[in-house]
Amino acid sequence: MKSDIQKVRNIGISAHIDSGKTTITERVLYYTKRIHAIHDVKGKDGVGATMDSMELEKERGITIASAATFCQWQGHDINIIDTPGHVDFTIEVERSLRVLDGAVLVLCAVGGVQSQSVTVDQQMKRYKVPCIAFINKCDRSGANPSRVIGQLKEKLGHNAVAMQIPIGLEADLEGVADLAAMKAIYFDGDKGEDIRIEEIPEELLPEALEKREELIDAASMFSDELMEAALEEAVTEELLISAIRKGTLTRELTPVFMGSAYKNKGVQPLLDGVTRLLPCPSDVENRALDPENDEAEVILTANPEDPMVALAFKLEDGQYGQLTYIRVYQGTLSKGATVINARTRKKVRIGRVARMHASQMEEIDNIPAGYIGALFGIDCASGDTFVSPRTNLTMTSMYVPEPVISLAIVPKDNKAEINMSKALTRFTKEDPTFKTYVSEETGDTVISGMGELHLEVYVERMRREYDAPVTTGMPRVAYRETITKRAEFNYTHKKQTGGAGQFGRVAGYIEPCTEGDFTFENKVTGGSIPTQFIPACEKSFKGCLKKGSKMEFPVTGVKIVINDGASHAVDSSEMAFKAAARGAFREGYAKAGPVIHEPIMKVVVETPTEFQGSVMGSLNQRRGMIVGSQDEGPMCVIEAQVPLSEMFGYSTVLRSLTQGKAQFTMEFSGYKQVPKTVEEELIRKAAEEKKNVA
């Protein structure tokens, strides 16, 4: 495998729904000879586009799974990684954004910067991914690339500069004029594969010169050499491109390309842009976390000789078993090597190593740093980090947030039941924030995750990909119980009626604790509780935490200390002490001021300013605490902390409040105590449910 890292690009293509992301990807694959025919998204041939595997993605405007495709352009290897765009899939987002070094932000020449573009842009900003923009659909009526460039500046705060101007617009779109080379590019042939380069038409020359000046002005901020050349009027294409690249890599400049993927215009110059302007893996500083040092960040080197660090970012079921897509960040991953899975600390032997090449897989000996490859038959979950032995680093945080919402699902028939279990096994492996279990009380299968949409998407995927239709119950919020004050207990368990007697006394105290969910401390001195019974006490206390006596929610944040007790030479047993500990917990817990905690979400609403009042009102009605509002020109961003239980169906409410112009994102923030009135309501509802079950 050749390893000129300078010629590798790992990129993502992000866009608002219907901006033509699929069409662009299809053209890219065609021009790079990865596929031999173009199928349109809704084409008459009924094949559908190559990357368009998930119908659900189209419907909801979000990309759910991150797939990787490989192609080659002008001697460069380009890996295209799909990027999911919804905050409910936090871990998935983080994972795929870590894998890519640069991105293409696709915008519609008519629609401009739309809500989804804002979301994906925010994510790129968060992960500092350099990007170039592509204004698609310049053939549509109403297309106006310069307006979109203006929106990129105003709405997204990009320092956007045009790299091209269109030759003709709307139905008359013929090609583009390249402002760096000052040449006109036309796309001939049936599928635009023949590129014809000519002089820029005379009537366009003044505009082209003016825009080129703007481009040089913006780029010269990043290169003194270019600045000097500009003063002497001796700007060369190479000098200009290298200055633009510098600005792009630091995210201080966003070069804008344009065209119409559907009409096969402008895609090849975009690919040139990807290879010339976006970073190669060694241009990007990657960081790993050191779990032994409080997850402190460690900078990785792109040196293939250093200890290996790699991230498994995507799993795929293939005919040879599980195929694991992997990106190597440091060192070299070689065939036959033994590596450690940082999550499980288990040794893994690398069997076959492959890379995706044209339409088939090519087996290779190693994957050097910066490259993306695939492994066969490795048992791991996506997001796992593989490291060389004696290295302890992880690419993603070991901290996986607990699910905050759950939903009971019932398969529609027998076939669906079998498929459902297959689907669930796969989803839980792919997404650590998605969990599933069988409820002991109702016997239902319960799925839990990070938000309403998160679960909805999995239910849809079950139906579509696994042919497992399920009916769902009402979503349930994961409430918790905890205590607010210290309380003492002293409980004696005594049973002397019939059979062997039982005796055990457990005394101590229970108190709130902020570190961890449960801490147990044994302060018994003088053997008042014999040592062999202490583990039984601890186990029993632990068992009690599964269901608090207040509302039967799990109990967290509790420290239990036992400091005294009594035993009987004959009648004391493990069982007796378990029973005593249960009684002691009940006694102490009731006195310790138990309260219910609910998950609180950080909700960020982006709305046109005129709806600010009504949006704030709607959040306030939902027991939300408004943290702040940020004015950003015509839009404003409102941040609030709102209980999850109040957020069901909020998207519909928000749409109707703002004529569909606002959008919101929501992520888990923490647990907070439920107000008294809500607590009473919860207790009343629980009692009613119990009655109904009985």
Binding site: G613, M616, N620, I626, G628, S629, Q630, G633
Partner: protein, 277 residues
């Protein structure tokens, strides 16, 4: 009077210590660990009161709880990077502890950065006074705070009035104190400030501004920097941060009483908290 306040805190503290000592002798046995913990577990409101009481901010103002009277304007002047925002946040936290609604308007920083300022200053205060229930206290004061950010160019009094109406009509938030961080005090500031003064007087608001001064500008005859010369009549209280060697002095240019008869006030550069000598 102000000094008395400080004294009474000290005596109150010692009484706690004596009290535990007394308990021990009355019972005729040594106080166990438990007793000490119970004594230290202060009532939540008491804790708040104590924090308010011990705050050196008390030394900045008059006899009233607030340094400003309703409808009053206060200004914190300093060169860039000396700690204007830190002072503003301490003024806000003091009001928040007294359950007064504070609207923090930033024209320079995003909401996230303003939040960080509050967290940092609050943590430092809590550390300084050894507050144990820091999380609880933080949760308790947060609902009284609202942050708004605007672009400097698009900020205007009518726009703010519109936003305030949004908040008050729906009973979402009724500010009692407004902090404005980053308003440029140029030649044209008098107009908007006069409008704002009327708004503040109508609603009985206490309003604090930060004013950025420059090293190269010579102040007016009364020590007032050029930025305020034209509008000083609108302000009741003006403080200036003055770096001298390793310390940052807080001088009162108008109103307030930091230097009148007691020890001067400083801004501790390491914690960004106000302290007296």
């Amino acid at each position: 009077m102000l000094h008395k306040g400080k004294k009474s805190v000290a005596s109150c503290q010692s009484s706690v210590v004596r009290c535990s000592g007394k308990l021990a002798t009355d019972n005729g046995q040594l106080a166990t660990d438990n007793t000490v913990i119970y004594l230290k577990e202060r009532n939540f409101n008491m804790l708040k009161k104590e924090l308010i009481f011990r705050n050196p901010l008390r030394l900045m103002g008059h006899d009233t709880e607030d340094i400003l009277l309703p409808g009053g304007f206060g200004a914190v002047l300093a060169r860039a990077g000396l700690g204007k925002t830190a002072i503003l946040v301490q003024l806000a936290l003091d009001s928040l502890l007294r359950s007064k609604n504070v609207l923090h308007i930033s024209l320079a920083d995003p909401v996230k950065k303003v939040c960080l300022w509050y967290e940092e200053v609050f943590r430092n205060i809590a550390n300084q006074y050894d507050v144990r229930q820091i999380d609880q206290l933080w949760e308790a004061i947060l609902p009284y705070r609202l942050i708004m950010t605007f672009n400097v160019d698009s900020f205007s009094v009518p726009k703010l009035e519109e936003r305030l109406a949004d908040l008050t009509e729906q009973d979402i938030f009724m500010p009692q104190m407004i902090l404005i961080d980053g308003l440029p005090f140029d030649e044209s500031v008098r107009g908007p400030l006069t409008d704002f003064k009327a708004l503040a007087e109508n609603h009985g608001l206490h309003v604090w501004f930060t004013v950025k001064t420059h090293r190269h500008e010579t102040p007016g005859p009364d020590g007032m920097p050029t930025q305020l010369l034209n509008v000083k009549d609108l302000f009741e209280v003006v403080f200036q941060l003055r770096p001298e060697e390793k310390n940052i002095h807080i001088d009162a240019l108008k109103g307030g009483a930091p230097n009148s008869d007691h020890s001067p006030l400083f801004l501790d550069p390491s914690t960004m908290l106000i302290r007296n000598a």
